[in-house]
């Protein structure tokens, strides 16, 4: 399941941060953190980073138009790549890097739909049982 979604532009500004699970990080810091990593990666290898591990979490990074989409998953989430791609589809037609409330709703829905039954059940159990 997706714990959080971050949309960050190339300047390192966090355009939106959606928390769906346990993972929490300062939104503004996250944009800067991602931007600096991508810049460094570009300098060293000429490529962008598309995956990072942070303690118990797995960060999937993809480019949707001119923005970076970052989804945070459990470290052993086997559906992480597929889930990230599904959410990225929402941002495909993004104009002028503006994230509206409707886009946020669509991102949330895409995140929920991308989770498999087992992930949804585990998420439900951790909140309700």
């Amino acid at each position: 399941m997706i714990h959080s979604i971050y949309v960050v532009n190339e300047a390192g500004e966090t355009l939106t941060a959606i928390n769906l699970g346990k993972f929490k990080m300062d939104d503004a810091l996250f944009g800067g953190f991602l931007s600096s990593i991508q810049m460094y990666s570009q300098k060293v290898s000429g490529k962008e980073v598309n995956e990072l591990s942070l303690e118990d979490y797995r960060m999937m990074i993809s480019k949707a138009g001119r923005v970076f989409l970052v989804t945070i998953h459990d470290e052993n989430d086997k559906d992480a790549i597929t889930a990230n791609s599904r959410v990225a589809e929402v941002l495909d037609g993004l104009v002028n890097d503006i994230i509206t409330d409707d886009t946020v709703v669509l991102l949330k829905k895409a995140a929920e739909d991308s989770a498999g039954g087992r992930n949804r059940a585990n998420d439900w159990a951790s909140k309700m049982l």
Partner: protein, 458 residues
């Protein structure tokens, strides 16, 4: 009215399931209250599960009425229909949890088909019993909830999901009672069936509880009470129903025993963190007093065969059990010089009984007098000590003082109950259950909440 023992367990099962339902609803309300508005819908599967569990309870009660020949309108069909809606709802809840919304139609269609089979088979004169189909649908509908709650138990390692898994699994064990007719095997199956709702009641009520001895103590109190009440229905006292007061007395004593074991377990659980020796002795008293009253109740229904040995054991237990209560009162006041007194006053009646064995206790000279003196001292001493503690705390306006007050009131009620020389009266057993309720309120801190004497922030 003689009812087979497995059917005698059904009203108890029904009561446990209804209590589990109420506690599950309260748990769900608490959990959803803390969730953001767009996540409140996460409570729906648990509410549906609660409705399903209550329907299983109603089905159990109908099953009992059928065996007792009270329910006569299409009895078995009514039972199967009720027990069919429950797994249907559990399956819908499971689909909601998994987010497989597009499959809702499957359990709904199966439930409708069940109803149609039940109605149409007799009308169309189909030779096959509708129960075959209904039973088949019934079992199919249980697959998803059992699988899901089982998976969540393994994955999440939470007792709450384990208890839901157990409720569904153990409920399905009823047909086994027709296969295993050996009394021990039958007793074991009934005990296992009570485990499901018994554990659910505890873990949803106290969701921070782990897989500990504390959980064992609480669930044992609930399950053993259910077990006792089941077999009580098969005892000569209950079957004859000539002495209703005695039946009520035994039931009240068994409830008092359960309250004692619960209070004792709670207090011993508190001791694990406080390491206060007074808490330990009080916990031991409440726990053993609960067991002792259960033995009195069991002895009274002839469970031990009215043997002279058990008369002695129950009598000696009645004296010895009060030692830790006295110790806890001395320790609460930090009067360590008096710690030998509880032992000293218990020796004469125990010695008198042991020296006269195997004469029937009623025929031992001066037994009543010596036991009465010890009994009065064993109650008056802790009463006076706890009252002293309460007065001191009240003078200092200390928080938590109502614990001492409720303990003292409970002790004096026990003394009044025993004053007639026989606890086995309706008045005596009523006073005993009030005592145990008071003690439970005292140790759990509810006494302080009731009298608004709790510490700030509690």
């Amino acid at each position: 009215m003689q009812v087979d023992i497995q059917y005698a367990s059904e009203p108890i099962m029904a009561a446990l399931l209804i209590i589990a339902t109420i506690i599950l609803v309260i748990h769900t309300r608490k959990r959803t209250r803390d969730l953001p508005a767009d996540e409140k819908k996460l409570g729906t599967p648990l509410y549906l599960s609660a409705i399903a569990i209550s329907l299983l309870g109603v089905a159990s009660f109908v099953n009992y009425l059928i065996n007792a020949a009270v329910w006569v309108v299409d009895p078995l069909l009514t039972y199967f229909q009720l027990s069919n809606i429950a797994p249907g709802l559990l399956t819908i809840a499971g689909l909601m949890i998994l987010g497989w919304n597009r499959y809702y139609a499957v359990p709904i269609v199966m439930m409708i088909l069940t109803a149609l089979v039940a109605i149409l088979f007799p009308v169309l004169g189909v030779a096959m019993s509708p129960m075959v189909f209904i039973g088949m649908f019934n079992l199919t509908l249980y697959i998803l909830p059992i699988g899901l709650f089982g998976y969540l138990t393994i994955k999440q390692r939470r007792l709450t999901s384990f208890s839901l898994f157990l409720i569904v699994l153990t409920y399905l064990m009823f047909p086994l009672t027709a296969v295993f007719t050996d009394p021990i095997a039958l007793g074991l199956i009934l005990l296992l069936r009570f485990f499901g709702p018994g554990i659910a009641i505890i873990v949803f009520l106290k969701s921070d509880i782990g897989f500990t001895l504390e959980l064992g103590g609480y669930s044992a109190a609930v399950i053993v009470l259910g077990f006792f009440l089941t077999y009580f229905q098969d005892s000569p006292i209950f079957l004859a129903m000539t002495d209703v007061a005695l039946v009520a007395t035994v039931i009240l004593l068994s409830f008092s025993a359960a309250l004692g074991v619960i209070s004792g377990t709670y207090t011993l659980g508190r001791w694990k963190t406080s390491r206060n020796i007074s808490t330990l002795t009080l916990g031991i008293y409440l726990f053993t007093a609960g067991i002792a009253f259960l033995m009195v109740a069991l002895n009274n229904i002839g469970f031990f065969g009215f043997s002279i040995e058990w008369e002695y054991i129950v009598m000696i237990l009645g004296v010895v059990v009060l030692i830790p209560l006295n110790l806890s009162a001395f320790l609460a006041l930090d009067w360590k010089n008096g710690l030998l007194i509880p032992f000293a006053i218990s020796i004469p009646p125990v010695l008198l009984l042991l020296l006269n064995y195997p004469i029937h206790p009623d025929d031992i000279a001066y037994r009543s007098l010596i036991m009465a003196i010890t009994g009065i001292l064993q109650n008056v001493i802790p009463f006076a000590l706890y009252i002293t503690l309460w007065r001191r705390m009240r003078k200092d306006n200390a928080p938590g003082r109502s614990r001492a007050l409720f303990l003292a009131v409970g002790i004096i009620l026990l003394l009044i109950a025993a004053a007639g020389g026989n606890l086995l009266t309706i008045v005596g057993s009523t006073l005993i259950i009030i005592s145990f309720t008071g003690w439970l309120l005292a140790v759990t801190g509810y006494a302080d909440k009731l009298l608004k004497t709790e510490a700030q922030g509690e």
